[in-house]
Symmetry: D2
Subunit: 289 residues, 4 copies
């Protein structure tokens, strides 16, 4: 959300923990007249890794926008062996949505985009069915169908990748997309594909989690948003939430209650990603807020 | 909770679903001048099983207390092949607590018993260590230590069973008891041993669930109370709850946050059991409230 | 939700509590071959009022649909001085939505209607602005603007009532409609107008609750769905929920987090109303589920 | 919680927001060989106030513990007009508990203290009744009764203050203490008296909130921990939480469910206070975690 705010830059970084990192970075910004808006840091003491998100205003910052990365790398990042990225608030990320047959997450996303809740571009929706094309049409978003099967999967993914690259897509949201992407495909968007899984992982990975939850007789069900990796439903978790159920809730009622959690947990993850609040380290996330 | 209320009876039953069950049972009570306080029913349509909990006042009920079971079996239950139990509000169940080294659940239970929150008798605490004997002493509850190992487990359990029978124990609460009971032992208390497991099952069964949760990078942790069966952490779930964590919560902080959920979820399960609100069917519970 | 289920009837009733009500009603259904699907009852012991919701299958019920009300009144209801209603599962209630400028609740409702989540007809949307007419157009729902001010309010409401009656509207949903309806208008839809208020009532009634919440420094915010009465934000509450905030959440972020709660709490209330699970007594609701 | 950790210092501060604060403070620590463990900051953009909590290890810090305050004031704090405090991890705060007749919060606190969950000293419990003296005796904590009435209130409070000062009490916890403290008394412990109120404030301040909640027909009840000020139940809120209720929950059941929230919300507030995570500004808190 940047409405009415001045242009700003966001640094996301992690590196081996050492003394002096905060002092050096903040002094660098301060000396160059960059007013810090927020600073959030975290140390993983087990892994001895330091994480930081820092946002500063650009209007009186003395280093030109296009040179910030170069200066930062040479003056600061190299010294600490940082893994880092700098983002600018005036860059609106370009998102692609993947769907299959269920519309609840798609509608939730589209209504937020349409209402201007998020700073994002949405140039296209991709599906393996045309069932939801009317929804895309309601919102005037191009809808592309790639009908995949075992034989043509590689070829289809190649075509998808071409489309995504032509449209300069920065990240992908799987809004209840019921197909598995290949490792090869995923490797083009590392920690840039957000999936919603309809259980509180690691319980009930894979297909039909509500049926499995019913079988087990649980009293809460949930949803998990995570970055997609090569291992199914095992990527770094961004957000989770749950809802209470009772013995009265058969599978169909669990599915209905679950949908409300799914769309909320997915949209919260998208917002965190859009605001560059997520850092992935190993198989876990740091989510600054 | 029965303070100041009249004596009442509670029927818990299930049977194959058929027309007329509610009408027949309520007519039976009505014709014999039993004023119904609450009636709660549930039909599992997949299994075609009908469940009911019904509570009625005894003061003007025409059938003497000691004959109710006999009359009910002959006039009603036989006709519908019911599995049933009748409880009386003036019978205070006798509970045994099992503990190991952690005191939080034990204190939570003891403080409720001591404050008169529950209708229960607590004649004894059993442990495999003497670490928590001072807590038992604070509340004046006899504390029995059975130091089990692989060799003497069977012998120890036999002694425990003897003690439990002498003390007329109706049900057992495992308040973070870190030993596995034998199937043989469990068979003496079917659906009468309540355990608290420190994860939202079926995620993270077995040992060290918080460590596993940390490894997986989850954003919520939880606790599960369930009836103990022969299969570890797989019995019918009574209640569950969760608490949100962040990347800042290392294992020690997860353990601390988790304790608050554990004691709450265990105490809620005990209350449901005490109020005869739980029915077990297959591997799931019906919890009327 | 009635998909694939047999036709059924739902009785909602309350009356002074007496012995025999459940027995009489269930015997009436049973004797006439009505298979009870669910029965839920509640006794308010302070007010001495008995409430019940009972649903039964119609396919082999011996009393014809159009005579059920008459038979029930004469054989049962009169005896107990019941206030009651019978609904049929094949009657889809007709809902009107009122909106002003915010789209989040409207989109949430429309996406559920469009996806077939609810058994409802939605013939029209009414607003005091035309800002959201494009949303109505996306979903092909007629959108009517009544620009009210102090002078024309009575005249406008008369026109609205005419429209609502012509369209045979059964109940109204105020989906963040920012105008106060007159008592006269409300009297035409007693307990049939559902409002969403953006605070956990009774905290922060009236205008700008998020600003008031910020001023007070609360750590949770919430939303309340309730039936509209003549007194502002004081009608019988159907559902409430909350979300945790921190010192970092300024008013704009509270508004954004709050929207997610508002749309959820409103949609849950609509579902409860559609499924005839709500009974109003005094200024409170019984919500059977 | 400081078990096994090195000695550390914690700075809590706020001041008018300006460029360079983080850089100056972190450079001050860094130059003097202080390893920062955590840094958390917040800017209230409306009030233009900067808040920070920073913790650093003392073992190789070059400024001796007793001179840190002096150096910090002269080198840093004066320049920015900071309001600040420095705490040391080896100082265990001394807490006094006030109770009346209900034991649930008291037990929850005592069981945590006894189990070593908190870094705190608890030299005394004060009450206006002797009802809970047996609880104090169970845990071996001195229990002082000050029977107050309108006439002797000032005299009693003077005696209490004398006792609190002799015992070097740092902060007070009102664990369901049902008397109002005078402004004069409160002025001796500014933002150092933590109260638990049994509603989600600002709803239902004052006496009998559960009865008021029942009257209003709410669907959630809650509890609020806050610092005590001269205005009843209106001080800066530290934490809040809620629990869902239904039409089945009469006042006595609300009271029972509410107790579980009260003790949790109070204990969480105590922990935040003990860990020096709370900053009060105006009538609101910043709670770093």
């Amino acid at each position: 959300m940047n409405n009415g705010k001045k242009d700003s830059a966001i640094l996301l970084m992690h590196c081996p923990d050492r003394k002096g990192i905060v002092a050096d970075v903040t002094e660098f910004l301060n000396n160059n007249n960059g007013n810090i808006i927020t600073l959030d840091e975290h140390v993983d003491r087990l892994a001895n890794v330091f994480f930081m998100r820092i946002e500063w205003e650009l209007d009186s910052f003395m280093i030109p926008r296009e040179k910030i990365a170069d200066f930062f790398e040479i003056l600061i990042a190299g010294k600490y062996q940082m893994t880092w990225n700098i983002y600018f608030s005036n860059q609106r990320p370009r998102m692609a949505i993947y769907v299959s047959k269920l519309s609840h997450c798609l509608y939730d996303i589209l209504s937020r985009v349409y209402a201007g809740e998020w700073e994002v571009e949405l140039p296209l929706i991709i599906s393996n069915h045309d069932l939801l094309s009317p929804v895309a049409r309601q919102f005037g978003i191009p809808f592309h169908v790639f009908r995949k099967n075992q034989e043509n999967k590689q070829e289809m993914e190649t075509q998808e990748l071409g489309l995504l690259q032509r449209e300069k897509i920065n990240f992908i949201v799987l809004a209840r997309y019921m197909q598995v992407l290949s490792e090869q495909f995923i490797s083009h968007f590392p920690n840039k594909i957000i999936n919603i899984h309809h259980s509180f992982l690691p319980a009930f990975p894979g297909a039909k989690p509500y049926h499995m939850a019913y079988e087990r007789g649980v009293k809460i069900i949930g949803a998990t948003s995570h970055y997609v990796t090569g291992e199914l439903d095992a990527g770094p978790i961004i957000d989770q939430d749950v809802v209470r159920i009772t013995h009265r809730d058969h599978v169909d009622k669990m599915i209905m209650k679950g949908k409300d959690v799914e769309k909320l947990v997915l949209s919260r993850a998208i917002l965190m990603h859009l605001q560059r609040r997520t850092l992935v380290y190993g198989n876990r996330t740091v989510v600054f807020n």
